[in-house]
């Protein structure tokens, strides 16, 4: 089922866009600067639309079915958020417009900053980072700036648990730190002895995901914070798994110093086929001066009443009036990107939080954790479970099935596609061989979970009795298993001729 490349549908002279004519005199063009060829496609609007519609039909999204990708929080993307994000009052504003002409935008951003502070317990938030990894890099740079501000240049190492997402060590390296791995213990927690052995004054901090990538809440999280702070290090929180703890516990209360949020995970903004996301960073008052900027500040504005001589903070309806501005923090690490962050994503996250409210957010986390534990209960008798504990919003199984020696996790994943599911996260975290990480999220019903569990159990059975079904999978998708070795050995990365 092949869709031609757009270049193969092209025909010279066609154009889809309908542009206005030039209504001003034409100025001379600098001939020596002009290009000759411009090898872009030439298609009509109908062909364009059909091409992209047919491409879309080759895709699987959350709107098509269950998408249990661990650590990605593939929850339902509310449509009202999409409508709001498309309001022309938001879309058609330029980032350099005078602040007085974009008070709506700044008010929304300030509101989101405040919501994230309340949810996390942190003292300050910057919305600027464009993705989780961007937020991690931001947090690590902030830690570095903090230590340097105290004249401490000898901290050159960052501690990172062996279960960490690859972005953690990668961000650490970008900031100029050396990564030191801390092992996990038999219960999936950070090994306290290993941590203690590494805590000294060469350590800038620890990057901790909690709940971690095994879906487990660290049983010693407060001790971890104490050990780290005792040696002068800071505690970074990777907030990818925040969906488990909204209204359950505030990360700041667990003594994290700085944390990033993933709006495209916890706060329902769509994944977009890979992005855009948004990775705001929250932090303690101590680290607040180092946030990247600008951030939005709020100022109560004096309003004169109609009655002469009176001047108070209420307008005619008795509400307070605020002015919003963009300001750089006191000693910022700098700018993480041009402008203020992924504003279109802020609008969606803001609307989501306004729609759920405090009770809704807590219910979301409770249902996320309940759904995960239920699915775990249905599967754990059949799939090996490396850490037999109450899970949070996700859990990790192994694909090494007794009685199915030639079957690997990749085969199970591909076979799930034949049942109409997107596979869970596979081969991560690295500390579990043949890992399968399942995160159902709270927006799935018990029915969906039961159907998925039934499919997983059937596949486990097939693994023993008809493994060729798994090895040959997927059978019913638009393409069958693809040759990734050839793609890497002989890269063909674009289709222009010559």
């Amino acid at each position: 089922m092949k869709e031609p490349l757009i270049y193969d549908i092209s025909s010279p002279g066609r154009m889809a866009a309908n542009l206005p004519a030039c209504d001003v005199p034409r100025a001379p063009l600098p001939k020596a600067y002009l290009r000759q060829a411009l090898p872009l496609p030439e298609v009509s609007e109908v062909d364009l639309v059909r091409h992209f519609v047919r491409l879309s039909q080759l895709n699987y999204g959350v709107d098509k079915g269950f998408y249990p990708l661990g650590s990605c929080t593939m929850k339902y993307n509310p449509k009202v958020n999409e409508d709001v994000a498309r309001l022309p009052g938001f879309v058609n504003t330029h980032p350099y417009q005078d602040a007085g002409t974009v008070q709506g935008n700044l008010m929304l951003m300030h509101g989101l900053q405040e919501f994230l502070k309340e949810i996390s317990g942190f003292a300050a938030v910057s919305l600027q980072p464009a993705a989780g990894a961007h937020g991690e890099f931001t947090g690590v740079l902030m830690m570095r700036a903090y230590h340097h501000s105290r004249g401490d240049q000898k901290r050159t190492r960052m501690l990172i648990p062996d279960s960490a997402h690859g972005t953690n060590p990668a961000s650490t390296t970008m900031a100029g730190y050396e990564t030191v791995k801390i092992v996990s213990d038999a219960r999936g927690n950070v090994d306290l002895a290993d941590l203690e052995a590494h805590c000294d004054d060469s350590v800038a901090g620890l990057m901790l995901t909690n709940p971690n990538t095994l879906g487990l809440f660290d049983e010693h999280v407060q001790q971890i914070a104490r050990l780290l702070h005792a040696c002068g290090g800071l505690l970074y929180g990777d907030g990818a798994n925040l969906n488990a703890i909204l209204g359950i516990v505030k990360p700041a209360a667990l003594d994290f110093d700085v944390m990033h949020f993933n709006l495209h995970k916890t706060f329902s903004t769509p994944h977009g086929g890979g992005g855009p996301g948004s990775g705001p960073v929250g932090c303690s008052a101590t680290l607040a001066p180092f946030l990247p900027g600008p951030i939005v500040t709020e100022e109560l504005v004096e309003v004169e009443h109609e009655h002469a001589g009176e001047c108070d903070h209420e307008d005619e309806e008795g509400e307070e009036v605020y002015r919003y501005s963009l300001e750089m923090p006191a000693s910022p690490i700098g700018r993480m990107k041009a402008f203020y962050g992924n504003f279109g994503i802020f609008v969606r996250a803001y609307t989501y939080i306004r729609t759920l409210g405090a009770e809704g957010l807590r219910q979301a986390s409770q249902d996320a954790v309940l759904n995960a534990n239920y699915l775990l209960a249905r599967l754990k008798g059949v799939y090996p479970l490396p850490y037999d504990r109450t899970c949070m919003h996700e859990f990790v199984l192994s694909g090494v099935l007794p009685g199915a020696p030639g079957v690997h996790t990749v085969d199970i994943a591909k076979r799930l596609m034949d049942f109409g599911y997107h596979p869970p996260t596979v081969y991560f975290p690295l500390i579990v061989p043949e890992a399968i990480m399942i995160e159902p999220t709270e927006t799935e019903s018990k029915q969906t979970l039961d159907a998925f569990a039934d499919a997983m159990l059937q596949i486990a059975q097939e693994a023993k009795t008809q493994p060729e079904l798994l090895h040959g999978a997927p059978h019913v998708t638009p393409v069958s298993r693809l040759d990734e070795v050839q793609a890497a050995r002989q890269p063909v990365l674009q289709c222009l001729k010559g």
């Binding site: 081969y427 061989p433 990734e484 070795v485 890497a488």
Partner: protein, 134 residues
């Protein structure tokens, strides 16, 4: 059947080194290429670079993994294997022959004797395989 060429020595990290007069060749073993499965790219150093024993001298990429390759003995790079650019699959097909990575001049020839011979290396590999590294 995993091969263990006898005319050379090995590191526990699966590099081999073969002396040729006052020069030497280095590459990775058959056991290593098995572990990596299909090699898609090899990054090699520049001619003239010098490395100490144990320094990262090259990187081997498969579809799902990247492995650092360590210099088995200290020395200066005399040439690198240009064939690996077009045909990284050679590493899987002929790890001891056509898929040599670098030719170098050892600066401390005495380092050779402390390396594992084929028998000791084979024993190490069999133990590693038993421990369940997939």
């Amino acid at each position: 059947m995993v091969q263990y060429a006898k005319d050379r020595r090995y590191l526990e990290s699966h590099e081999w080194v073969k002396l040729e007069g006052d020069e030497a060749l280095a590459g990775i073993s058959d056991f290593a290429q098995h572990e990596l499965s299909d090699v898609v790219y090899v990054e090699l150093p520049a001619v003239g670079d010098t490395f100490a024993q144990g320094d990262t001298v090259a990187t081997v990429e498969s579809v799902k993994a990247a492995s650092d390759i360590y210099m088995p003995m200290s020395g200066e790079i005399l040439s690198v294997n240009g064939e690996l650019g077009d045909s990284p699959a050679l590493v899987n097909e002929d790890p001891f022959g056509r898929a040599w990575f670098v030719r170098f001049r050892p600066s401390k020839p005495e380092e050779y004797d402390a390396l594992l011979d084929a028998a000791a290396y084979q024993k190490h590999c069999e133990e590693e395989a038993e421990k369940g590294g997939h």
